[in-house]
């Protein structure tokens, strides 16, 4: 199982703050997980399309497309940050 969390604009667009699901078959990194989520179509495809500005964290650290995703991980998708 992995935990996927959504924040801010993405949380609203997806209508949930996250989900728990088995690590999808063939998914080993952030790029593949993003592609798998896009495959759902709708808001996922729109918000996570190439060229959209979003960030990914794995296990509470900023990640990039190549960051590995393993069973048990927490992966978060969110917009560029706007605190301060």
């Amino acid at each position: 199982m992995i935990r996927i969390a959504y924040f801010a604009r993405l949380r609203e667009a997806f209508g949930t703050d996250g989900e728990q699901c088995p690590l999808p078959a063939g998914v080993a990194d952030v790029a593949a997980l993003t592609q798998w989520l896009c495959g759902r179509g709708g808001a996922f495809a729109a918000e996570l399309a190439a060229g959209r500005a979003f960030r990914v964290a794995v296990n509470l650290d900023m990640a990039d497309a190549a960051t590995l995703v393993r069973d048990g991980d927490e992966v978060a998708f969110f917009p560029p940050v706007t605190g301060g």
Partner: protein, 152 residues
């Protein structure tokens, strides 16, 4: 704890006194307080809600503090960021840095704010007369963070 995420307000005077803490080696305390403005991108802001990523936000702030302590010789660092609903005029964020000399205190204080703005997972949603909207990240904030070099 030197970094903190909280809904409650904070007291700059008390935080600076605590940072100096009677330490007679400290010659300089630089500090910053950010406030909610009533105007953003030309629109009236009635209030805003600050969302964060519990766990990751604290960890990001601690990492930013550690980077500042690697770059400069600092006696104390304090970062407080509020979350939840805030009205114009209210305090959002505080950074306090105590050091022997002013150059290091100023540099570290500005560095902490620049990195916090681009690295710490907070998101602002504004209520304007035209409805609610998520604040967009600013390229000027990325530029401010990048001038410190390194990969953040």
């Amino acid at each position: 704890m030197s970094v903190q995420v909280q809904a409650e307000d904070f007291d700059l005077g008390a935080e600076v006194r605590a940072a100096h803490a009677g330490c007679l080696r400290v010659g300089a305390v630089a500090s910053f307080v950010g406030y909610v403005r009533d105007l953003n991108e030309g629109d009236e802001v009635r209030d805003l809600v600050l969302e964060h990523y519990p766990g990751m936000t604290e960890r990001a702030l601690e990492r930013i503090e550690a980077q500042a302590r690697e770059r400069w010789t600092l006696d104390a660092v304090r970062v407080i960021h509020r979350v939840g609903r805030l009205a114009p005029g209210q305090q959002i964020v505080l950074v306090v840095v105590a050091s022997a000399h002013r150059g290091e205190a100023f540099a570290a204080c500005e560095f902490l704010m620049d990195y916090l703005k681009t690295q710490a997972p907070f998101w602002k949603k504004e209520q304007t007369p035209a409805g609610a909207r998520w604040v967009e990240a600013r390229s000027s904030d990325d530029a401010a963070a990048q001038r410190w070099g390194g990969n953040g």
